[in-house]
């Protein structure tokens, strides 16, 4: 008996000391749980949910797809410290109907992103793409959702915040923590009224001491390197990486911020020490700094509201705030500083060899505080301190009275470049602003032009003296690149996976040996435009383009000619019909991408039974002005809604799924493969 008891005791003690091992990888194939330290790989494209629970290790996202419903797609919790290694092209999406993130990082956990792949990540309702979700109500700090730490070292990350969430950072009614970006390419968009990078929508004002404006904060954001593009909104599918929207005053969102605190949120510290940064704020919010505050003193906490910005090192920063709302209201918002409805412009320090382009709208200097009455005492707010170092290259443009907040409580710049009496008010006449009124900035759409707001009267620009410029050593190009022309069929557009739209004739820089996915789209004939706002339609078939050098092309062409069923070999390109891929000789004279009918798009002819006279056809989003005997190129896999008219009066409508040709086209009783005929009864 004693022996038995001894054995049982020993077993009991062993079990007590060594907890029963928990499976490192639990759940079914689509619902994965990692709960032991280690290195994991996610390589399916149809995960429903991933939990990373108390793990120190790596998770490789290898062409992975995680699409959740009712929760965050990936949850990192219980003091995990996990590095996501990006491999290939992965997609992670939260649930837009439920409070959730793409990648949720609980307080106490840390995530780091590395690798060379691409990650598209989208937040759910009230949630950041990467960070925390939020709540629909204002609640005291101790009850709020909190967020962990986020670091990005490399890779390409496209982060789309959910409704009222940040792109990267916190969700609605949540403060940020620590975000560090050391490298990689980051494109981050807030859902609405939040920050591209920072906090989500903070608050429009709750009770002081509980959830007033200023009591939420973006936390600390440190950028040491990388290419960063952060915008306050991507609402209603507006592409903020295109300055066309801003130049045209077609800004749908307001009150948010590119980098910093969303609506009603402070900023502990934004420190940009390196990298290339483009930040776009919403009307009333700053590009870098804080978003909209409030006009109500009883909902604003001046003791809590703060904004600290430091830009230095070799940082290359472009900060632009939009001009007006879509309703035409001019709301202000500094490019670097604070938004409308705050009592201060904060502390702004630009030093080192930083290159800064700052462009603001009306009511605000490019750098400083928005000049609208303080919610505290009705005074016009000023920055607490502004420091501009000697070696800074600064271009500042504003539609307000001054490009730099001349009334800042503490101001430090080097007089020798700016004279004495007029240093705060340069270029009062239009001629003086001519060289910077149209400012070129780089964005995901390539180099674009930002047009200074109408009425811009104040410009402060400084370019280093030519003699101070040092010739940069010529570094040989690491990548093997070339340029080719993109040719596009009539009334169509070619759209590459980075979103760039080509209408035909434009040059594209391409990397030799790299595969580029693209799709075919029809444009709106009325304006020749394709976009996601009702102009044109997209196809669904994925095509690939690759450029190679002449010698390789010759070898490939010779091999392709052996298999004429699969390949179509032409002078400068080879079409792999089964892989839907075009291989192009980049060294050829007049090298270009060319797409042909049937393989890449389909020509449709619309006729009426009997005769076509005074009978027209229109196609929603493409042919909005109906035409007789319509012949139109349409992208494969799209569904069109076409309408029949008699004397321009609508008489019928039909939906048509666009397929490639199976011989329906008839001409002189001969079946054609290059056209499909649609006949209205």
């Amino acid at each position: 008996m004693k022996k038995v008891l001894s054995v049982l005791l020993a077993v009991f003690l062993l079990v007590s000391v060594f907890p029963l091992a928990v499976s490192a990888e639990e759940g079914d194939l689509k619902n994965v749980v990692f709960n032991e330290n280690g290195d994991y790989v996610l390589d399916r494209n149809d995960y429903d949910a991933v939990d990373i629970d108390g793990v120190t290790g790596t998770v490789t996202l290898s062409n992975a797809g995680v699409y959740s419903q009712g929760r965050s797609a990936i949850k990192v919790m219980n003091n995990s410290d996990v590095t996501f290694v990006l491999d290939g092209y992965s997609t992670v999406m939260g649930d837009s109907s439920n409070f959730s993130c793409g990648i949720e990082v609980e307080l106490g956990s840390k995530v780091t992103f590395e690798g060379e792949g691409t990650l598209d990540v989208t937040g759910g309702k009230y949630g950041a793409a990467i960070g925390s979700y939020g709540t629909g109500i204002n609640i005291p700090e101790e009850q709020r959702v909190q967020v962990g730490e986020i670091t990005i070292n490399s890779g390409v990350i496209n982060a789309y915040g959910g409704y009222r969430g940040a792109g990267i950072g916190a969700g609605y009614h949540v403060s940020g923590n620590l975000i560090t970006i050391n490298g990689g390419t980051v494109r981050a968009y807030a859902g609405e009224q939040g920050a591209g990078i920072g906090s989500g929508y903070g608050t429009s004002g709750g009770a002081i001491g509980v959830a007033a404006v200023g009591e939420y904060t973006a936390g600390t954001i440190i950028i040491n390197g990388g290419d960063i593009y952060a915008a306050s909104s991507n609402k209603d599918f507006t592409d903020f990486s295109s300055f066309d929207a801003i130049n045209a005053n077609e800004v749908p969102g307001a009150w948010g911020v590119g980098i910093g605190g969303g609506y009603g949120a402070s900023v502990d510290l934004i420190e940009i020490n390196g990298g290339k940064v483009v930040a776009v704020g919403g009307a009333s919010g700053a590009a870098i700094g804080t978003g909209r505050g409030t006009s109500k003193g009883n909902q604003y906490n001046p003791d809590a509201y703060h904004c600290n910005i430091r830009i230095g090192g070799d940082a290359d920063v472009t900060a632009v705030t939009s001009d007006v709302t879509k309703d035409g209201d001019r709301l202000g918002g500094a490019a670097i500083g604070t938004g409308r409805g705050c009592h201060t412009g904060g502390n702004i320090e630009i030093t080192g060899n930083a290159k800064v382009t700052a462009i603001s709208a009306s009511l605000a200097p490019a750098i400083g505080a928005t000049k609208k009455v303080s919610p505290v005492d009705g005074a016009i707010p000023v920055a607490e301190s502004i420091v501009i170092g000697d070696n800074v290259q600064l271009y500042a443009v504003s539609a307000a009275d001054y490009a730099v907040d001349k009334d800042a409580s503490s101001l430090s710049i080097n007089d020798k470049y700016f004279g004495s009496s007029d240093r705060w008010f340069f270029g009062e006449n239009a001629a003086a602003i001519a060289d910077v009124a149209n400012v070129k900035v780089e964005s995901t759409k390539g180099e674009q032009m930002y047009t200074a707001p109408t009425g811009a009267v104040s410009v402060w620009s400084r370019i280093k003296a030519a003699e101070e410029q040092h010739d940069e050593p010529v570094v040989p190009e690491k990548d093997d690149k070339g340029n080719l022309r993109i040719d596009v069929p009539l009334k169509m557009a070619v759209v590459f996976e980075d979103g760039t739209v080509y209408y035909g004739g434009e040059m594209k820089e391409v990397e030799v040996g790299k595969e580029y996915h693209f799709q075919m789209c029809a444009v709106n004939w009325d304006n020749g435009t394709f976009d996601d706002n009702g102009n044109g339609i997209r196809g669904t078939v994925v095509y690939t383009m690759e450029v190679v050098h002449k010698n390789e092309f010759k070898e490939l062409a010779a091999a392709a000619k052996e298999d004429p069923e699969r390949y179509t070999v032409k002078g400068i390109d080879i079409i792999d019909n089964v892989a839907k891929k075009i291989i192009i000789d980049i060294d050829a004279e007049d090298t270009h991408l060319e797409t042909d009918v049937n393989n890449f798009f389909m020509a449709y002819r619309f006729h009426f039974k009997g005769e076509d006279y005074d009978k027209q056809t229109g196609i929603d989003q493409v042919i909005n002005t109906p035409l007789e005997s319509l012949s139109v190129n349409l992208p494969l896999g799209s569904t069109i809604t076409c309408n029949a008219y008699h004397s321009y009066e609508k008489v019928a409508s039909a939906d048509v799924f666009i397929e490639n040709n199976s011989g329906e086209g008839v001409y002189d009783d001969v079946f054609l493969t290059s056209v499909n005929d649609y006949t209205w009864e």
Binding site: N98, Y163, W255, D532, T540, A579, T639
Partner: protein, 229 residues
Amino acid sequence: MKHSMIKMISLLLAVFLSLAVFSACGVDPNVKQQKETASEYEVKIDGEEEEVEREGFYAYAKGKTDPVEVGGVEVSVTDFAVRSYELAFLMAQKNFKTPKDIPLDAAVQYAFTHIFYNDFYHITNKAAQYRSASEQQIRDSLKEQFGTDDFKVTSSMLYNAGKEIFEMWIPSYGTNIYYIIDAVNVDGDQAEIISTFYNELARKTLLGKATITVKIQDGRPVIASLKAE
């Protein structure tokens, strides 16, 4: 009476009235996917929004409606009303007597999209998204939707024979769907779900009508046929 109690009673009354209105006209309030626009938060220069301090929150529920029993299996009629909308108006497949009647490319594209999304109207991405799928995934999805994978799927234009995968730019199919279920006729292990679709929330202008037939196969409901106009 406490202020919070009055609020609670008001809330309950509002919920009751909403349910009464919707149930009276046969509209499922949970099906429409209404965008949360900023219209409730209009931008005004000096009179910014009053933030709503709610005691709770309303999150959209999905598919919450009275199911019907078909051949001993519970079937969500709203799910299949939405399927009929997807096939008829987003894929332009208004009439098929059997799934085999659906053109190959349309069937594969429909199955492909359903690998990633339960409902097309959830696809609210800003632009088309690149996705890839294996042949097995396509076949599984076809079986799940139609109860058969008897299609030459690798002849589809979405098939990349070079990589032996299916690839697609999934369009932003997301849209509001406004409809009323007119009738559900159950006959043994089949059910007809008849729906009328409208262009707007007010349900004033007709988009079309659809009758989708669902049958029970291997204990699951699958799409058998569709007739829409």
